[in-house]
Amino acid sequence: MDKAVSIAIGAGIAVVIFLSFLGINPLPFLLFAGVIAAIFFFSPTRAGQRGLGGKHAKRGQKESIPSVRFDEIGGQERAKRELIEALDFLIHRDQIASYGIRPIKGILLTGPPGTGKTLMAKAAAHYTNSVFVSASGSEFVEMYVGVGAGRIRDLFRDARTLARKKGKTSAIIFIDEIDVIGGKREGSQHREYDQTLNQLLTEMDGIQADQDVRILVMAATNRKDMLDSALLRPGRFDRHITVDLPDKKARKQILSLHTRNKPLGDDVDLDQIAGETFGFSGAQLESLTNEAAIYAMRENQTEIQQKHFSQAIDKVMMGEKTDRETTQEEKERVAVHELGHAIIAEWVRPGSVSQVSLSPRGQALGYVRHHPGQDRYLYTRKNLEDQIKVCLAGAAAEQLIYGNKSTGAHNDYEQANQYVSSIIAAGLSELGIIHPEWMSKEKMQEEASKILSQCFEETFDHLSRFRSLFTDCLRVLLTEEVLSGDEFRKMFKLYAQEPVKINKVN
């Protein structure tokens, strides 16, 4: 579309030059071209693309065949496999007819934000060589009753005419954030949404195998629990595909996809980065590689190095460095606090500390970045208690060095409380298997504080063996502001003969 415009502009200029060369006044030609251009830009049939005038203008609706391929999507192997299988029904029509298979009408993609649902839908359209019409749920919402339902009808009609025009036999309609219109129908309050939803349901029922254009509706949402049950039943959205946060292997694949066009230094270890980014979504990983490249550019480096990646991880996780000024006294306290976290983290899981930093970032005045090692989905009570100890270590260290605590540990306590509540809710505490609602609050509180105070004591005891390590590390940390995991471990080893043994016994 835009290409055609550029070509027309170039050709127009050429014609004007040619006419002037021949000594013919180019004004009539220019006038004519102007009229043609005006018709082209303002005509209502193209309004969807040019967004000027026309009452059928559909904002943001893209109609094309995307160029994203499935192998450009990192990870999500299972979701991709399932999706491809569903899409094969669109491609192999004859085969499914011989088995008597009813074509799949809808695929619902669910999953946390940034995991590539939209990307999947685009890849699906590319894979099936279908016309791709996309709309967002919010486009169907307007003040006036019936507009949303009308837009649904238009959407399906557009998809059919577009497919016919382009000579394709199938079309994919992608509705992003379908929870806006597909929410549960309850009471009499959201009448307008109900109409929109009813229209969508009837349109989907109208999809039959013998039509010349086969339509597949794909929808994405991250709130599947909110959707109306009529949408979720078989015959509407037949397949529900969960797109999850990527695991380590997938993260590495995503990273390598996004670093394909970037100059990487020799020391960059994508495996390690993938390991350190547990819980990152695809979009966050993309942002991570982007930030790393920006850091490399800021330093005028020709290649992106590992340190840029580790800075970028900090940035994506915690936010940009802030230039908040702190007094020396506060800085020392933060250093003590963070060292406490680091020492206990190293004790419960050797090799897990990847950086201790004193520079304020986002809301935090300092932080310890952990290296999760392996992706984990199951925890024993010991794992959780270890996590609690790491959380409490900051406050314990302050207590040890200064004899008092500060408000800096507020967030740590919150996290610790989360771990405690999951211990109790999972039936790992001494209360046994419980139903949280049937328990009295006092009893749970009692149990929680028992666990917490026990953990705190152990942490405190352990830290008190490392008083001399504190003074050494503090000096380095206060001058350098950053202590890498390896440096920290070197110092830790000097003092930690005994604790390492204890850890091994455990």
């Binding site: 550029s6 070509i7 502009i9 030059i17 040619f18 000594g23």
Partner: protein
């Protein structure tokens, strides 16, 4: 934007190439070739120079002694005219005048131009004959509805004069 600009520039050059290529091709196949053919089919003339522009054609012809303005020129012009079409035609005949002929022409020019201007055409051959006989020069005169043709010969020298009858027909120039 960058990519679009690039596309526009490429399209500009491609279109220019097509337009000017087409123009040149047309001039070669539909103007130059037929002109050359027309001249070749006329005896005693050769092309010395042929310049074709979109609005004008310049044709310089070399003639030999046998060439007769009276009998060949009109024919040639008739053949060239449809090919040249609306373009302005500059047709030059390279003749071979000596001082004698020049002097003779200068003498008779008065009578000839006067004859044309006052539209007493019978005066033209008279004034030519008068001078030519006195200087022993062979001559031939001819007239059609556009031009007066005068051809002077003395030994191996020859001179052609083509004078328009109407001022608007000023396209044939005298090279002498």
């Amino acid at each position: 934007m960058n990519l679009q600009a690039k596309t526009a520039v490429i399209s500009l050059f491609v279109t220019l190439g097509i337009l000017f290529g087409g123009l040149l091709g047309y001039q070669y196949w539909f103007v130059q070739k037929p002109l050359e053919h027309a001249v070749r089919s006329t005896p005693h003339v050769q092309i010395k120079q042929l310049t074709i522009q979109h609005d004008r054609v310049k044709l310089v012809l070399a003639t030999d002694r046998e060439f007769s303005l009276a009998s060949h020129y009109g024919e040639l012009l008739e053949e060239i005219a449809p090919i040249v079409g609306k373009r302005q035609l500059e047709l030059e005949l390279l003749d071979h005048p000596g001082e004698e002929l020049e002097a003779a022409w200068n003498e008779m020019a008065f009578g000839v131009r006067e004859g044309i201007d006052i539209q007493r055409y019978s005066q033209i051959p008279q004034s030519v004959a008068q001078v030519a006989k006195a200087r022993n020069i062979q001559y031939r005169t001819k007239m059609d509805d556009r031009f007066v043709y005068i051809e002077l010969r003395q030994k191996d020298r020859y001179m052609y004069q083509v004078l328009p009858l109407h001022k608007t027909d000023g396209e044939v120039k005298n090279n002498g």
